[in-house]
Structures are given as C-alpha cells and as structure tokens.
C-alpha cells in the first residue's frame, strides 16, 4: 500500500497531463492538477522555513559543527519575518530597507566571490596541454576580449569573432546537449509515470 498509492497518483497525474494536449475532455482535469501543484508548491515554502528553523535549533542545542552561525541565521530569519508581517513589505518599510540595504548587498557579495575563485582556478587548471585544450584556451581568450570594450580597442573584429564563436560552435554544442537532456527527461518521465523509476520515493523498492 505504501508503494501502491504514490505510484498510482504519479501514473494518473502523469497520464492526465499528457492527455490534456490531445483530448479536450481531459483539459479541465489538467488545469485542476496545475492548480493543485501551485497550492502544494506554496506549502513547500512553509515546510522549508520550518525545516530551516528546526535544523539550526538542533545545531545550537547539540553544539553541532559551526553552531555559532546558527543564531545569526535564526535572528536574521525572525527579523525579516517580523518586520514584513508588522510593517508590510512596500517601499519605505523596515522590511524593504533590510532587504535592499542588507540582503541585496550581502547576496551580491557572495556571488562576486566567484570572480576570485574563477581567476585562481583558471590560473592553476587552464593549461594548453594538448591541441584541444589550446583551441579551448584561444576561444576563451577571444570571447573574454569580445565581451569587454577593450577587446574592440585592440582589434575591432574581436567582438565579431567572439559573437561568431557564440553563434556557431557554441550553438551547435549547446543544441546537442539540450536535445540529449530533453530526450533523457522524456525517458525519465515515462519511467516515473509507469513506475519503473522509483528513486523519487526516497529509495523505496
């Protein structure tokens, strides 16, 4: 029964979602399922928030690894929730101030760190070890120069060559990856609908 119920739900929902494209009578059922999906997805946000609090409370209680950061997470979470609920989220409210002046710069800072790691990793790993790696290296240089104004100042054709690399070799490679991934997705979806693929149930056989 533990297996039968979720497999049946998956099969029925999957078949309805496919049929709605071909059988007009199933269209309203498909729309209802989409409505349900949005409601379930909304609840997932609450589960995520509850889980975040639970994980960090547990870490503080048992002095887990890096537990000293957990109170910061809980205080930040509580501050955002309370200011949002009490004062609203419109422009000029404390929530909006915290979001624009703290959350936004801190998030942008975290993402910017990527530049430092990319530079360090490229220095250590981007080697012209064979002709294929050399070709990749040259392409990377052309695209990097073509994406900044200084590239055109060096030679006005660099941006055009960079765009050609993006529009021809890159497009061909990306399309191949995309078609492969799409076929894999169709195959996996069919395996899930017909109950062959069951890993999404959490390892139950």
């Amino acid at each position: 029964m533990r297996l039968f119920v979720p497999l049946t739900i998956t099969f029925v929902a999957g078949i309805i979602m496919i049929l709605q494209f071909f059988v007009p009578a199933t269209q309203s059922m498909g729309e209802s399922l989409q409505e349900w999906y949005m409601i379930v997805a909304s609840f997932a946000i609450f589960i995520g928030a509850a889980n975040l609090l639970q994980v960090h409370a547990h870490r503080i209680r048992f002095k887990g690894r890096n537990w000293k950061y957990s109170p910061v997470t809980i205080v930040g979470f509580t501050a955002m929730v309370l200011t949002g609920l009490i004062f609203g989220i419109e422009k000029g409210t404390p929530f909006n101030f915290l979001f624009l002046e703290m959350v936004a710069p801190m998030s942008a800072t975290m993402f910017s760190l990527l530049a430092f790691f990319v530079a360090s990793a490229a220095f250590r790993a981007f080697r012209a070890s064979n002709w294929r790696a050399t070709l990749l290296l040259i392409s990377a240089f052309v695209v990097m120069l073509g994406r900044v104004p200084i590239g055109a100042m060096i030679w006005d054709r660099i941006p055009l060559i960079s765009e050609w690399i993006m529009q021809v070799p890159n497009l061909a490679g990306q399309r191949a990856v995309m078609i492969g991934a799409a076929m894999g997705m169709v195959a996996t979806s069919l395996r899930m609908i017909f109950g062959i693929e069951r890993s999404y149930l959490g390892g139950a056989d």
């Binding site: 729309e31 989409q34 422009k91 942008a108 530079a119 490229a122 012209a128 994406r147 104004p149 200084i150």
Partner: protein, 285 residues
C-alpha cells in the same frame, strides 16, 4: 631550490585575489568609462524589437532573479524599463523568484517617478507566485485568476492597465530577466511557443551561451547577456538623449575589461610555467 618557472606556477592565491580585487576596485573608484562598441547581435536585436513596438503596447516584464545576480541584471532592468516607459509602453511586471519582486519594484518605482508615469495606469507589479512553468501555463488561460491582487494587495479588476489584459496572448511581448530556473526557458516553452508571443531575455554572462539555440530558432527574439548586454542596452537607449540618466552598466565595463585582462594574464603566466616545466622534464610532445 625552486626555479623561477616553478615559482611562477605556484603564485599564492592570496596574491591572485588581491590583484583581482584591485583590478575591479581601481577602475570603479577612478570612474573612467570606456566607449561601448555596439556590434550587431542579440542585444541590438532586443533593442530593435522593443523600439518597433507602438506606444500603448502591453509588455510583461518578469523579474526572475535574486540579489546575488543583481549587479548584472539590475542595470539591464533599469535600461529596459527606461526604454519601455519612454516609449509609453504599458508594463505589467511579476516575478517567478520571490526576491525578484522587491528588486523589480525598486526599478519600476524609481524609473516611473523620474519619468512621471502613473502606477496602475502605465505599470503594475503583480508580485510573486510559486509554480514556475505551471504558473505560466495557468496565466495562459487567465491571468486574473492567478493574480487577483497586485504586490500591494489591490484588486487587479480596479486597475485601468489590466482592462484589456486577461491572458498571456494579450501581451505584445514578454521579457524575462532571469538568473536560472524558472526563467527564460520556461517563458519560451510555456508562453512563447504555446501562444506565439515574442520573448526577449536577459541573463547573467555565465548562462548566456545556453540560450543561443533559442536565438538561432527565433524562439528568443533578443538577449542581454551579463553586464555587457546591459551596457549595450544602456548605450542604445542613450542615443539621441540630451540628459541621459546615470547607469551602472557602462561604468562597470571598465572594471570588467581590466579584470578580464588580469585573468588572461594569470592564465598566460600559468601556461608559461607549465610549458617550461614540461620541457625541463622531457620535452613538449
């Protein structure tokens, strides 16, 4: 004792980090701007499509990103919104990412205030809803059932801008500024292909290559890729403008230019060391 080439190949990463930081900070602090060369490509295609829209057209602008990618996507959001509002194009905005709503609101209110546009008449922010691709499909049949209220909790039925908008097919164009999933691909598959609406996109520089297949097929009519795309658009919007508003993309390109050159320099140094060491150990194959 380590040779010069060995030392070259083992530069302390703290030195690399410091040089990269200086290469970004100094150009930004000195505020020097480099001329942005406009070459035909996805950015100009995007500009041309927006430019061809008549006044009064309806555009759906989706802010599908969060603050982490704000430095790249927010400048293009400002430039696009300025272009749309200057052309008297009506903007209905929303977000597939929760934090995109506030970022979008910041752009819309700021540009609207500077150009004297009116909320609910010239633009509206519908806010965020979960669901991603499914949400878009639902909007295809009825937007007002998905968004009965806007970001501020006002009923969309009472808004003049929503008088002639009931479903996605009522829009003349959809633009998604996206930092990942859900984003541009979801809009292409669920809205562009189904309801035949032109889709334009904006994305981070690292994700731009993956959208070129959509540009090749015409499913995506234009693309602003990273800070370069934003700078291109800022430059195009400013053409013929007497007092152009300050932007952040064009000043950022000077810092990006220097940073790219520095990264290339480090790659060259790394390869000099690698080839010298390889030669020493038995010759280059």
């Amino acid at each position: 004792m380590a040779t010069f080439t060995e030392k070259l190949g083992n530069i302390d990463r703290r030195i690399i980090f410091t040089v990269i930081a200086l290469s970004v900070v100094i150009p930004l602090a000195m505020r020097f701007n480099l001329p942005i060369p406009i070459t035909p490509g996805p950015s100009t295609d995007m500009f041309d499509v927006v430019e061809a829209l008549p006044a009064g057209s309806m555009v759906l602008l989706s802010f599908d990103y969060d603050p982490s990618t704000m430095p790249e996507l927010q400048p293009m959001a400002f430039a696009l919104t300025q272009h749309l509002m200057r052309k008297d194009i009506k903007i209905v905005s929303m977000a597939l990412w929760p934090m995109g709503v506030s970022l979008g609101n910041e752009v819309l209110t700021s540009v609207s205030d500077s150009l004297g546009r009116e909320e609910y008449v010239d633009w509206v922010n519908l806010g965020y809803k979960t669901g991603g691709g499914v949400l878009i499909v639902r909007m295809g049949s009825n937007i007002k059932s998905v968004f009965p209220e806007d970001y501020d909790g006002n009923s969309v039925d009472d808004m003049p801008i929503m008088d002639h908008v009931n479903k996605l097919g009522d829009f003349d164009m959809i633009i998604s500024l996206s930092a990942g999933d859900p984003g541009v691909p979801a809009w292409i598959m669920m809205a562009g292909d189904r309801y035949d609406i032109p889709i334009g996109g904006g994305c981070t520089a690292v994700s731009a290559p993956q959208f070129y297949p959509y540009l090749g097929t015409g499913q995506l009519i234009g693309l602003l890729g990273g800070l370069k795309g934003a700078a291109d658009y800022e430059t195009l919007v400013r053409i013929g403008m007497e007092n152009p508003p300050p932007g952040t993309a064009i000043p950022g390109m000077a810092a990006q230019s220097v940073a790219h050159l520095v990264i290339m320099l480090f790659i060259i140094l790394g390869n000099i060391s690698y080839l010298a060491e390889k030669k020493k150990k038995g010759g280059v194959k």
